[in-house]
């Protein structure tokens, strides 16, 4: 059954009115007609562009050290500006595949901003290395936020997430007076903020944003490893993500929650019971818990179906 027949049935059933049906049909047919580049061709184009960029980067590295600091700064400014302008031009194209390439160019622009800041701070201003990294990530984060604000695509969201977490890591790493778990707690706090802002509709694309927030929260126990109570907190985060996936109907949170349980249940078992429980028993408990949780989620989902 085609789209037109579907729309006619939905109009007849009173689900949408004829104006909506005409708008949907115009949008879908218009989108199909304008895309002249297949997904396979697009992937090959990205591969080619990546190879060209890697080759240029290797060539640049050969003479990079021989450049004066001002030369390095000038070159990184030019590369960053070119990537940004290329993205700007690509984004104006009517061809969806070409327009999508804007996000790739702007993703690289964030790296260019970081490189430019690094050269300026370390080579020109002679800022201390640890301080410089904080500013490099901070400037990159601001650039990534601006580009995401201009076009909220998956790659722009990833760039914004990576630079935000990197800023937090660089800030905490330079402070010797903080315990290691401060890093895990910051990851989780930032992850929770990310999830809240995504839930409120402030962060898009939604799935990528939920994924970043969930990964951040699951990192809560990574710096402290097996030391209690961190694996237990990781376990609770995993369960929390699974519960949130039911409420929000987000499979990406479900997958991350399962991954969290898969990591933190064995860690908790080994920390509490040590060598007294063998690996097979630990795996059995992990498997049973996972199966139990999945059954519970299926039942909960049925209950929350509208």
């Amino acid at each position: 059954m085609g789209m037109t027949e579907d729309l006619e049935r939905w109009v007849a059933a009173g689900l949408i009115d004829p104006d909506h049906a005409r708008a949907i049909e115009a949008f879908e047919t218009g989108r199909g007609r304008s895309s002249q580049v297949g997904r396979g061709m697009e992937a090959v184009a990205y591969l080619g562009a990546s190879l060209v960029l890697v080759a240029l980067a290797i060539l640049a590295m050969e003479f990079w050290d021989r450049l004066e600091p001002w030369g390095q700064f000038g070159l990184s400014v030019i590369v960053t500006a070119v990537l940004f302008v290329v993205g700007l031009i690509l984004g104006r194209s009517d061809e969806p595949a070409v327009s999508r390439a804007q996000t790739f160019a702007w993703f690289l622009t964030v790296a260019g901003i970081g490189l430019t800041a690094q050269v300026a701070l370390r080579q020109l201003l002679d800022v201390d290395e640890q301080d410089a990294w904080v500013y490099v990530f901070l400037v990159s984060m601001l650039g990534a936020i601006w580009l995401w604000w201009s076009r909220s695509s998956v790659l722009q969201m990833v760039a914004m997430g990576v630079t935000t977490w990197a800023t937090v890591i660089s800030l905490i790493s330079r402070t010797e007076t903080l315990p290691d778990w401060a890093l895990g707690l910051s990851f989780a706090g930032l992850g929770l903020v990310w999830l809240l802002l995504t839930w409120a509709g402030a962060f898009t694309p939604v799935r990528t944003s939920y994924a970043l927030g969930g990964i951040g929260m699951l990192m809560i126990a990574i710096p402290e490893g097996n030391q209690m109570p961190w694996p237990l907190l990781g376990l609770l985060v995993g369960l929390g993500l699974m519960a949130a996936s039911v409420r929000l109907h987000q499979n990406v949170l479900l997958a991350l929650g399962v991954a969290g349980l898969f990591i933190y249940i064995p860690m908790t078992i080994f920390e509490w019971f040590g060598e007294s429980l063998g690996v097979p028993v630990a795996l059995l408990i992990t498997g049973l818990v996972l199966l139990g949780v999945v059954v519970a989620i299926i039942r909960l989902r049925k209950d929350t179906q509208p």
Partner: protein
Amino acid sequence: MSRRRLLGAIVASVVVIAAVVVIIALSVIPLPEFATLPAGELDGSMSFVDEENCVQIADLSAGSVTKLSCEPDQGAIDHLAWTDSGVEITTYFNQPITKVLDPATGEILETRTGDEATDPSEAERPADELFVNRPAEGVIVIYDDDDNDLLHLEAPERYWIETAIQSADGRLVGFADSTGRLAVFEPRGARPYLVADDVRSWPPPVWEP
């Protein structure tokens, strides 16, 4: 996007960030503090490499620190020794270059290159290096060869003593920590004194023979 939901999320986010900051702020353990070394308190000299790739000499009896020589264009100083011939430094830039410096003036007394130079990759850790351990959370201890505690420091989790070196006569211990400070103390009970605060932990500081 519901305006009310967004407002709620922003308020909740601010609360989460504030809670994380407060918890982390309450967990801060200050770095160990060292008093400045007064002139005439201790007797001995140490050599060390600073963050700018310069060799410095700390004269403890005078309470002074002076730059002996800098190697800005020869690669990082990878090896430092103080022998009867002078202060020996080795840099590696295409090939190893060892220079022996007059500890009083910084004058180059001898230069060795290639096979004649000390190979930094084959240089062993100093024989007079002491053992450092963290027996409990928040405590760092320097031990001698007989497992005697020479120094107890209360310190945060990430603070570490990179190298602790005993002087030839065993009367003093100097150590470089993870914050780039060089401190010296008399074993068993005495407080460490700060000598310098821009010290590279590698190569380890060395005592005058």
